[in-house]
């Protein structure tokens, strides 16, 4: 009796569509929903490694368990970039078995992992699927909609960041057109890890060799290129469990079943050699990168710690940027040097770091930002204000202004008498570098007060509570 496999495919498509809409909506419209990116395996692994985050740990463990049961179903229903690839594969081409994916995926994986371990995580900025998804939606689509005046909000990325995101999207479309889910089976680190786990999964798509006549119907339908119809085998490591193939078989030879573990091919000698070479290449690149200069004065987001810590943990997905209420976090172009392209930095000409907000810390899916409480964050120095009297209207023209001191949330700026007016004075013990002063300073193009980032973030003193003044009005009417 022929089983109706189509129902499984339908369930997969419905779940994927729901998750995709939620993820897209979270980035585009509703920052509160960005918490759902905790479901992302790649950044989850990093969060577990860098902060032993419990939530991410549970998520990653569940994904692994599901993969050991059902294969890479994650890649089809929880990976937003995977779903995006399915969404752009209208009029799919007939596919062919890709026998060579391992020769690419292991070297790419080892190269980037060796670099990541050495503290240079930036290749993952362009390889991590959840990061690419957020970048494409936020800097690509949303920014384009904003620039075209379609009513979208903006996270103020530079033009080059927008073009990079569009470049990623176009490359993705080309790859999908060329060989379906080839990105997932060669470049994606999550695909590589989950693929490795999927070799041992209980349920797999298998071919019944006695029934199969090698007609190739399934192979042509397989967007992952993992079915070898001639050899009558499925490379389950590359299979993303889309179930497209199952209903194609007219001979009931293709099944999703838990019985009879099929023989899996193991990586061969050549694959080991290439991978070893890639790892060595990563090591060498790491040493070279270690010699590049660190940026000075660029303000990192709260909880980044120092530059080395930050660049070894942040994959530049930009969820913090899409969530940033102050509209102050922006993807870097050259601000961090070669190691920090697309990483978030604070641009106080665009906004201030809201005093009562720690959304970036909350949302960071990979643990790149220390889990500061709101009280800790309100004393956490990102930088320090620097006053440039040669630009200030109060100093030059004797005008009362005081906009900077007015906006300082920690009382680190006080207006000190100067001639007929008053000019701001920075209390270096209290300033946290939130940028409220720089943001409001009316001077253009260069502001009269700016924030210089610190190389090591740390907590500052609490302001002293001053004694309250007695008012005459408390006794009787003062006039």
């Amino acid at each position: 009796m022929k089983k109706n496999w189509n129902i499984l495919r339908l369930i997969r498509i419905v779940l994927a569509a729901l998750f995709f809409i939620a993820a897209w909506g979270a980035v585009w419209f509703y920052p509160k929903f960005t918490d759902l990116f905790i479901t992302q395996a790649g950044s989850g692994f990093l969060a577990v490694l860098s902060q032993a985050s419990l939530g991410a740990g549970i998520a990653v463990l569940s994904i692994l368990v599901v993969t050991l049961l059902l294969g890479r179903i994650y890649c089809s229903i929880l990976c937003p970039l995977g779903i995006m690839q399915d969404a752009v594969s209208f009029f799919p081409r007939k596919q062919k078995y890709n026998s060579w994916t391992r020769k690419v995926k292991y070297p790419v994986f080892l190269f980037s992992i060796v670099l990541a371990i050495m503290g240079f995580i930036f290749p993952l900025t362009f390889l991590m699927p959840s990061a690419n998804f957020v970048q494409i939606v936020n800097y690509g689509f949303r920014e384009a909609a904003y620039r075209a005046n379609l009513g979208a909000e903006t996270s103020n990325p530079a033009l080059i960041s927008m073009l990079t995101a569009w470049g990623m999207f176009l490359i993705l479309v080309v790859l999908v057109r060329w060989k379906g889910r080839i990105y997932c089976n060669t470049l994606c680190p999550v695909g590589t890890i989950l693929g490795f786990a999927a070799r041992f999964s209980l349920f797999k798509v298998r071919i019944d060799e006695r029934k199969c006549i090698s007609c190739g119907a399934c192979e042509r339908a397989c967007k992952a290129g993992c079915i070898d119809a001639k050899g009558k085998k499925v490379n389950n490591e590359d299979c993303v469990m889309c179930m497209n193939c199952l209903s194609q078989c007219k001979f009931d030879a293709l099944k999703l079943t838990g019985r009879k573990p099929a023989e899996q091919e193991h990586p061969g000698r050549r694959e080991f050699l290439i991978s070893g070479a890639a790892a060595a290449g990563g090591l060498a690149t790491g040493f070279l990168l270690g010699k590049t200069a660190k940026p000075e004065g660029t303000v990192m987001p709260p909880g980044a710690g120092n530059f080395d810590r930050f660049t070894s943990r942040c994959i530049g997905c930009g969820l913090c940027i899409s969530t940033c209420r102050g509209n102050v976090l922006t993807p870097a172009v050259t601000q961090y040097g070669v190691r920090g392209f697309m990483l978030p930095y604070m641009d106080f000409n665009k906004g201030e770091c809201k005093f009562k907000c720690r959304k970036c810390i909350d949302v960071c899916p990979c643990g790149a930002l220390l889990p500061l409480s709101i009280e800790e964050k309100q004393r956490w120095r990102l930088g320090i204000a620097q006053y440039h009297p040669d630009l200030c209207v109060a100093y030059l023209n004797g005008e009362d202004c005081g906009a900077c001191a007015e906006h300082c949330p920690v009382g680190a700026l006080t207006m000190e008498p100067y001639k007929d007016t008053a000019i701001p004075k920075v209390n270096e013990k209290l300033c946290i570098g939130c940028g409220a002063c720089q943001q409001i300073c009316p001077i253009r193009p260069k502001r009269a007060i700016t924030i210089k980032g610190v190389s090591q973030q740390f907590p500052v003193e609490k302001p002293r509570e001053e004694a309250a003044v007695k008012l005459e009005a408390e006794e009787d009417f003062p006039f």
Partner: protein, 316 residues
């Protein structure tokens, strides 16, 4: 006979005939000298915001004197900062609600509430408690960020010329300021780092778009504040001094910056009310530039002695 003479004479007449009849036991008797119809300024102390307002508006002749049936009203509180009511950075929400209720009772067709905020408006409207209180009282809460939300800016603000202005010849202000029939200004009394005092006049800077605030700061804050206030004088000013900010204003850092003073003032002359506010917070009048400018361009008087001030202590 000028105004002062008129006041003196009527006061004398009133004093002759009816001291015992009119001087209620609640008044601070020694300072209450003049009486001529409704007072210019009413000061109430030692009550809760709503009860003080009920008394204050009664003394001013009732809301019916300011709002006629069918008119639209703009209530402009201070909603600038993302601070709770306890921090006294924004106008007391109960007072705002009470004003709206009275406007509605007087027959106002629509009551609008808005401010151009310093912090993100979504936060300040919520944290201040004003959005919720105003909606409950039946007002239309208008909000948005004129700095980043182009649509809100285009739909709600327009560039206007300020007649007779020397510096602020043009500004971009909220349509409601021009379109409403009655304009009620509801500032909170605070000290201010730049302008030294924020009361009626500084509060009106919040009718101007955020981008234009920059123009104020660049081209002489005091001159611009006064000229901005000359565009449309509020029909009524209610100064919330229930909690006041006595230092590190206008934002405030911690509780030590706030004092529970339990005052409220009301009147039509914003310059006089600002002068009274300065006296209340011990801020020297000569240090407040925009009051001097406002006086010189004839927006009001700083001579409180020339005015009929009614002082009411609810405790006595």
């Amino acid at each position: 006979m000028d105004r002062r003479d008129f006041l003196k004479k009527t006061a004398a007449l009133a004093a002759l005939g009816a001291v015992s009849k009119f001087a209620a036991p609640l008044e601070a008797a020694p300072k209450a000298v003049k009486k001529s119809g409704n007072p210019d300024i009413v000061v109430v102390r030692n009550g809760e915001p709503v009860e003080m307002f009920e008394r204050l508006i009664k003394e001013l002749g009732g809301m019916e004197k300011f709002v006629k049936p069918g008119q639209t009203v703009l209530v402009k509180p201070n909603i600038a900062w993302n601070q709770p009511p306890e921090m006294a950075a924004n106008t007391n929400p109960e007072l705002v609600a009470a004003i709206i209720t009275h406007c509605k009772k007087a027959g106002a067709s629509k009551v609008y509430v808005f401010d151009t905020t310093c912090n993100f408006w979504g936060d300040t409207y919520k944290t201040s408690g004003i959005a919720e209180a105003a909606k409950k009282a039946g007002a239309i809460v208008v909000g948005g960020d004129s700095a980043t939300d182009k649509k809100y800016l285009e739909e709600n603000y327009k560039e206007v010329t300020v007649p007779g202005a020397k510096v602020l010849k043009k500004m971009v202000n909220h349509n409601l300021v021009r379109e409403c029939d009655v304009f009620i200004n509801v500032p909170i009394l605070k000290v201010h780092g730049g302008a030294k005092l924020t009361c009626c006049m500084k509060n009106l800077m919040g009718t101007v778009s955020k981008e234009y605030h920059r123009y104020f700061h660049r081209h002489g804050l005091n001159q611009c504040i006064a000229e901005c206030c000359s565009f449309r004088k509020p029909d009524l000013n209610i100064v919330d001094a229930y909690r006041v900010m006595i230092k590190r204003g206008p934002r405030g850092i911690d509780n030590s910056d706030v004092k529970l003073l339990r005052y409220q003032m009301g009147g039509t002359d914003m310059v006089a009310l600002d002068t009274a506010g300065a006296a209340t917070l011990n801020v020297p009048l000569r240090s407040i530039g925009h009051i001097a400018v406002a006086k010189s361009i004839g927006l009001g008087t700083t001579d409180l002695k020339s005015l009929n001030i009614k002082r009411i202590d609810l405790k006595k």
